[in-house]
């Protein structure tokens, strides 16, 4: 993907020259690169640069990239299988799978005839922009409309790392309880869409009230819809497919501005 962009070389970054403080010490000044008062640079600046590079690559390829996050076992891969079943005839998909170990999820996606790359992180609890960047070198995006990056199942760490995706979609399964957004608010605030999965189980669950979940989501800073899906005994992904179609249309029209990555 990067034969012409020079990304194999070190990312060039405007150098920041510190001011001389005293005879015994120098203190890096806070002007120049500062984008926030009193800040030299963001700690994750290197990750953010690579994320921007990934995003540029997606844009040049005409691909909508979606970072899919949730707890382990909330139904990310099952949702992707149902999405491929429903929209496979009309859209081109590719998937990057993130797990600590195994190729299981990539194998499930490939069984649907969709290219899938498995990133096994070893011990790492999240994907970062560099892992995705390396993955992109292995993945042909020709003919791909939507790339799903299925993050490592984890409601904490993935929230801190921009991968270069255009939007974040987070799943909340009915079996997890309606207070998950109150317990893990950061990831939900960073979401462009939250979906309630396994919603066909709601009649059997005492610890999930949809209005309570919606209220905790709002208090956590998420102001989008809570779409319901189920993919097991009864398949109901209509609202999600409509959202995805609309998002892709907006993206293609250049109208979509990700609130997490303005500009």
């Amino acid at each position: 993907m990067c034969s012409h962009c020079g990304c194999a070389a070190n990312n060039k970054h405007r150098l920041h020259l510190p001011h001389r403080g005293s005879e015994d010490s120098t203190i890096a000044s806070v002007d120049g690169l500062a984008h926030e008062e009193g800040v030299i640079r963001n700690i994750l600046a290197a990750n953010d640069r690579i994320a921007s590079h990934n995003r540029q690559h997606f844009d040049e390829s005409g691909v909508l990239a979606i970072n899919l996050m949730s707890s382990p076992g909330s139904g990310k891969t099952s949702l992707l299988e149902a999405t491929i079943d429903a929209l496979g005839p009309e859209l081109g998909f590719a998937v990057i799978e993130g797990d600590l170990e195994t190729e299981n999820d990539a194998a499930r996606i490939r069984a649907k005839g969709v290219p899938a790359l498995q990133i096994t992180t070893g011990g790492a609890c999240h994907l970062d922009a560099t892992m995705v960047h390396h993955g992109l070198h292995e993945l042909d995006l020709n003919g791909v409309d939507v790339l799903f990056i299925e993050n490592v199942g984890n409601l904490v760490c993935p929230a801190s790392f921009d991968l270069g995706a255009h939007c974040n979609v987070t799943l909340l399964s009915a079996t997890e309880g309606d207070d998950k957004p109150a317990k893990y608010p950061i990831i939900f605030r960073k979401s462009d869409l939250v979906m309630l999965t396994k919603s066909d189980l709601l009649p059997y669950l005492d610890n999930f009230q949809v209005d309570r979940a919606a209220a905790t989501l709002k208090a956590s800073g998420y102001d989008g819809p809570l779409l319901r899906t189920s993919v097991a005994k009864s398949v109901d992904v209509g609202e999600w497919l409509a959202w995805l179609r609309q998002r892709l249309a907006d993206h293609r029209a250049g109208l979509f501005l990700n609130r997490n990555h303005p500009g």
Partner: protein
């Protein structure tokens, strides 16, 4: 425990700053960590003990300024400090607020030893962590 990844990123950035300054040793790193950044300051301190080994920051102090989430109501204009799972106006209860603080994960200052001479001959501090220090600045 992504704090180790954050720490490696921090070390990489401050080493870059040291290189730009022509310095070989870092004496002090001051960072800001907002509660909405998803990074735990306590875990960051422990991760720093591991990540700094063998780097220009090996003998550096780390000070962390914790930044509480702050919101400004778009309806009544009130600004208030709050919690990550309660980004609401403390006055009118509205969720229509702008987050104006708490996302920080940034380097505020880096102090070098200023000698310009590699300090490889210096013996490591006892226990390898004697210089490690954290401070909590007053909440903003």
């Amino acid at each position: 425990m992504h704090e180790l990844s954050v720490c490696w990123a921090l070390i990489s950035e401050v080493e870059r700053l040291a290189q730009e300054a022509g310095e070989d040793s870092i004496a002090h790193i001051a960072i800001r960590v907002g509660e909405l950044s998803g990074t735990d300051p306590g875990l960051l301190v422990r991760a720093f003990e591991v990540a700094r080994s063998g780097t220009k920051a090996e003998h550096a102090y780390l000070t962390i300024e914790r930044c509480d989430p702050r919101v400004k109501c778009t309806e009544c204009g009130l600004e208030n400090v709050t919690r990550p799972n309660r980004l609401l106006c403390a006055c009118c209860g509205s969720f229509r607020v702008n987050v104006i603080g708490g996302d920080e994960l940034s380097i505020a200052a880096v102090e070098f030893t200023g000698t310009g001479i590699p300090r490889t001959s210096d013996p490591p501090a006892a226990g390898g962590s004697a210089n490690l220090n954290t401070e909590e600045a007053p909440h903003v």
